[in-house]
Subunit: 198 residues, 2 copies
């Protein structure tokens, strides 16, 4: 069965986004691009650190990561990423509101799943074949999969940033056991890799 | 003027101790030695990672780190560390309750400071001479010094542990700017070193 991985950027005080996420501030107020500065300013080492995340056979994400809207769909909204999203694979978006699949350029197809996290993962596994499935975010989605014991490998990319408030990674995740697999870093980020023990 | 350093062990979800710290559970419930397992099980690399902390010319700590008591002093309590504490230098303990200095074996002298964090640091700097001053903990004390812009170098030793609740490092520390100096690790801990920018 496909391995389930998760890569997520976090502030040193435990947040993956600041408060008040919106169209203008997808990572919330106060974040100002600081959680992912390493990806922008160190593109080569950043891409190397994100290699597992970038080579998944399928992805799962929360609706909040797909877009800022809530409730019924605005069908003009096709994600944050323009015509050719960086996934190049099926992406299963968790939502309470049904929507037809959305095919983008470059092989990304967004599927909208109303049956919950286990159904989304089941469909992602089927789509991924022999490749792994990546839980793409955000924190609320990652926390649900961690709490359910459904993540095999977690890479936390710790930015040297104190956000003070916002979306907390590990909120409501009490009983997960982590095994430290590796620690590495550059001048802008620390990469902490864990195996999640059942 | 003496550099001010701080070394502190933290769970990956941001806590330096679990809830309900007590005489029997100085790191709170649920911690069970897991935050400092790397120091016990990897004593050589642990000691190397703690070299700056262990070579300070003077220390500052909160009362909670000196002992579990509150209110008036129980003069029989002489710290958690037995007759010869590991500091071998003056230690300035923040408290609201005056107490005479307490001289221990091996060069540790506990001084009890009622004048607040700035007075404690001033006295520690005088005592340290050319050496650095280490803020020994706990989180509440470290957070006060960080918020006041009085820490130069912060080393967070991240244990692969999710505590879920307890004492949060960086609580109330909103505007601190961190510069990542180095990332390293072993099989049990990730060492993240920051310069704290004013």
């Amino acid at each position: 069965m496909s391995k389930v991985t998760c890569d997520i950027a976090m502030s040193i005080d435990g947040f993956t986004a600041g408060p008040d996420q919106s169209l203008d501030a997808p990572f919330g107020t106060g974040e100002n691009g600081r959680l992912t500065r390493w990806l922008v300013e160190e593109p080569e080492t950043g891409a190397a650190a994100m290699e597992v995340a970038n080579t998944a056979g399928a992805y799962v994400m929360g609706r909040n990561m797909f877009g800022p809207g809530r409730g019924a769909w605005d069908l003009d909204w096709k994600g944050w990423w323009g015509d050719e999203p960086p996934y190049h694979a099926p992406v299963f978006v968790l939502t309470h509101h049904p929507r037809e699949p959305l095919e983008m350029a470059g092989g990304t197809v967004f599927h909208f799943v109303t049956g919950g996290i286990e159904e989304a993962l089941k469909r992602a596994r089927e789509a991924a074949g022999d490749a792994h499935v990546a839980i793409a975010g955000g924190a609320a989605t990652v926390n649900q999969y961690l709490a359910a014991g459904l993540v095999d490998e977690l890479r936390v990319h710790v930015a040297p940033v104190v956000l003070g408030a916002g979306e907390r990674l590990f909120a409501g995740v009490a009983d997960v056991d982590l095994e430290l697999v590796g620690t590495s870093g550059t001048g802008l980020v620390s990469h902490l890799t864990y195996r999640v023990v059942r």
